[in-house]
């Protein structure tokens, strides 16, 4: 045990240098996912046939295939047609596009769960369809989606480790590097596992706190 | 004596719900337990088959005391009919009736099904044998649940307000089945405020109040001249006889 602590104390700082990269990947990907997810949800709810079809195909394809394959496609495949990204950017794009497909479904479900009367009341006040959606439906739907969105955020936080496969120097990659230097794989990956448990636990607490703060009675 | 209940005590936290209840049922008898809400009638029935273990007291069936060791064997002799039926949701009516004989009594599939069909016949539910509980009315579900009890070939059936979850127009079919059972010689202990059943089918009425048996006697006597003021009040409230009516 004390050996493990010693090992941890020695190598933790190096591994934790990957934390900003992990968190950066995560935050950027979640932001892209939220924006693009909203757009997709809107396309599937209110778009014409063509827009609806395209958005649906996008969601089905990204949810039906592994994120790792998507990431390899973007990082290794796209350069074939002249589109080259550095590993970090490729990872942000892959995770962001992937989560946008899931977030789109949560947004769509939440928007659909708002009673029709809400939009009708907005229209009756003289709001346009867009204004009604923007100012009445969306704020309610966003609050309702928070629990699912938090869940998705935690999942994605863990998925950022997939970026290690294309050489992003985040937590997992750094831990593996220590592993090869010390050949103490068990210790280093235990340490890494602990880091993730603390990280996901902390983020879950924060999101839960925010959920409570933004709660509205009856919604 | 088929069923002997001796000095049952039960408390929940600080509240003593049963304060020493004793009663006996002879083979072939039907007894009806009445009393105000919250008086411990359901608790008593559940203590009798140890769904709720009593704190004190004994229950004997055919002279054998129920203990934790013989609990499941003894429960086969004490069928229970619930207020809210509790039919097994995933089983068709006939399988609800057959599951006990098959799994508990070890009958083969064909024999268990035959038995189940006979019991469904007794409660007039053969036509709906293949229906799932969700496809049956409350009265029909309760009749199936009575058939389920009968299929265990129990010594006694305990009924806990079998008609009180039913719409008034559906209670009749269940009461009719229960009357038929009583006249067939089934031994029954029934918590119910169904006056019709009590008058025509009960050998004895037991009036409970505040965790005690206040008085008991044949229906004619208890309805016509209750000894206690509480009994009188209660009977007049449920619209039955007594000097206070």
């Amino acid at each position: 045990m004390s050996e493990f602590l010693e090992f941890g104390a020695e190598h933790l700082p190096y591994i934790l240098e990957g934390l900003p990269i992990t968190l950066g990947l995560w935050a950027l990907a979640m932001a892209i996912g939220a924006l693009f997810g909203l757009l997709l949800a809107w396309a599937r709810l209110y778009g014409n046939k063509l827009i609806y079809g395209a958005a649906t195909a996008y969601v089905e394809i990204f949810r039906g295939t592994p994120m790792l394959v998507q990431m390899l496609f973007i990082y290794l495949g796209l350069p074939e047609i002249g589109i080259v990204f550095d590993p970090f950017t490729a990872a942000v794009i892959a995770i962001g596009l992937n989560t946008s497909a899931y977030q789109a479904e949560y947004f769509r479900g939440a928007i659909r769960s708002i009673p029709r009367g809400q939009l009708q009341a907005a229209r009756a006040m003289g709001m346009s369809q867009f204004q009604g959606l923007r100012w009445i439906i969306l704020p309610q739907a966003l609050r309702r989606v928070i629990p699912q969105w938090s869940n998705e955020a935690i999942l994605e936080l863990k998925y950022t480790s997939i970026a290690y496969a294309i050489g992003v120097s985040e937590l997992t990659a750094r831990a593996e590097k220590i592993g090869y230097e010390t050949f103490m794989f068990f210790e280093v990956f235990m340490l890494l596992a602990l880091i993730y448990i603390v990280l996901t636990g902390t983020v879950a607490q924060i999101l839960q706190f925010l959920e409570k703060r933004t709660a509205i009675p009856g919604l | 004596m088929l069923l002997q209940v001796e000095n049952i005590h039960k408390r929940y936290g600080t509240a003593e719900v049963l304060k020493g209840v004793s009663l006996n049922v002879v083979a072939g008898q039907s007894k009806v337990i009445m009393g105000p809400s919250g008086t411990g009638k359901s608790t008593l029935l559940r203590c009798i088959n140890h769904l709720t273990p009593p704190d004190q007291g004994r229950v004997l069936v055919e002279g054998v005391e129920i203990t934790s060791a013989n609990l499941n064997k003894m429960r086969e002799k004490l069928a229970f009919v619930f207020q809210d039926f509790n039919l097994f949701t995933h089983l068709r009516a006939v399988d609800n009736v057959a599951v006990g004989p098959r799994k508990i009594r070890g009958m083969n599939k064909v024999a268990a099904r035959d038995l189940a069909m006979r019991e469904l016949e007794r409660v007039g539910m053969v036509e709906r044998a293949e229906a799932y509980p969700a496809e049956l009315s409350g009265g029909q579900q309760q009749r199936v649940s009575i058939a389920r009890a009968l299929a265990m070939e129990p010594k006694v059936i305990l009924f806990d307000e079998p008609t009180s979850a039913l719409d008034p127009e559906l209670t009749g079919e269940v009461v009719a089945v229960m009357k038929q059972l009583a006249s067939d010689g089934m031994t029954m202990l029934v918590v119910s405020h169904e006056i019709g059943f009590a008058r025509q089918a009960a050998d004895e009425i037991i009036f409970m109040d505040g965790g005690h048996i206040l008085e008991q006697g044949p229906p004619e006597q208890l309805f016509a001249s209750p000894q206690h003021e509480r009994t009188r009040q209660f009977l007049s409230r449920i619209g039955e006889g007594g000097a206070g009516a």
Partner: protein, 223 residues
């Protein structure tokens, strides 16, 4: 040219699918047995078991799949010889158990208490009541959420790539190295294979759910 390469390489890709399928079946089976046991012990067992179950779930849900794979392969290899495939089954299977136990526990708890009461009142022992009455209902209710778990684990099999299990994604890498290129085409085909695999699984589970459907279980019917 690309088409020709894809056709000649197809047997390798299909072999990759076969390995992924084996991995998926093994990890889901481990997750099912362990997850269901955990759920039953958590609901009906002693509080220490509940505590253990919660801890198990917290741990295996808090760690990324990749980290578990690395831990079970490189970490465990420090002590015993373990094949990459076995390590992947253990890592992903235990993680799946944590997710599956949550599914099963939810279904068990959603069954009305009266079902257990009625079974016990007939003289069924607790294990018999769980087996004959509770589980047939709980498992039906679980098919919907379990389909999501299936889908998520199907995609997770691709992660076994990082510890060198020669499943579909790793086969794709080999083909790309050996044919020097065709990266987009190979990954597109691989993605399509995963997509079909996933779609078939979902379709089969949906059919199963329909087939086992019982009136009164509509709330779990849509998944």
């Amino acid at each position: 040219m690309i088409v020709e390469i894809l056709i000649t390489q197809m047997p390798y890709l299909l072999h990759g699918v076969w390995v992924a399928l084996q991995l998926l079946v093994c990890l889901l089976a481990l997750g099912f047995v362990l997850g269901l046991s955990l759920a039953i012990l958590e609901v009906y067992g002693h509080w220490t078991l509940r505590w253990f179950g919660v801890l198990f779930e917290r741990i295996f849900r808090g760690i990324p799949a990749i980290v578990l794979l690395l831990l079970f392969y490189y970490g465990v290899a420090d002590f015993v010889d373990i094949s990459a495939f076995t390590a992947a089954v253990l890592a992903l299977g235990l993680r799946s158990a944590a997710y599956q136990s949550q599914i099963f526990r939810g279904s068990i708890l959603s069954i009305s208490q009266g079902q257990m009461l009625a079974a016990r009142a007939m003289g069924m022992s607790k294990p018999m009541a769980i087996r004959e009455i509770i589980l047939p209902q709980a498992l039906r209710l679980s098919i919907g959420p379990w389909t999501n778990e299936f889908s998520s684990e199907m995609k997770a099999t691709s992660l076994a790539y990082v510890i060198g299990v020669v499943e579909l994604t790793r086969q794709a890498r080999y083909i790309i190295s050996s044919t020097q290129g065709n990266i987009l085409a190979v990954f597109a085909v691989v993605a399509a294979l995963y997509f079909i695999f996933n779609w078939l699984g979902n379709w089969g589970l949906y059919r199963l759910e329909r087939k086992l459907a019982v009136p009164g279980f509509e709330q779990g019917g849509q998944g």
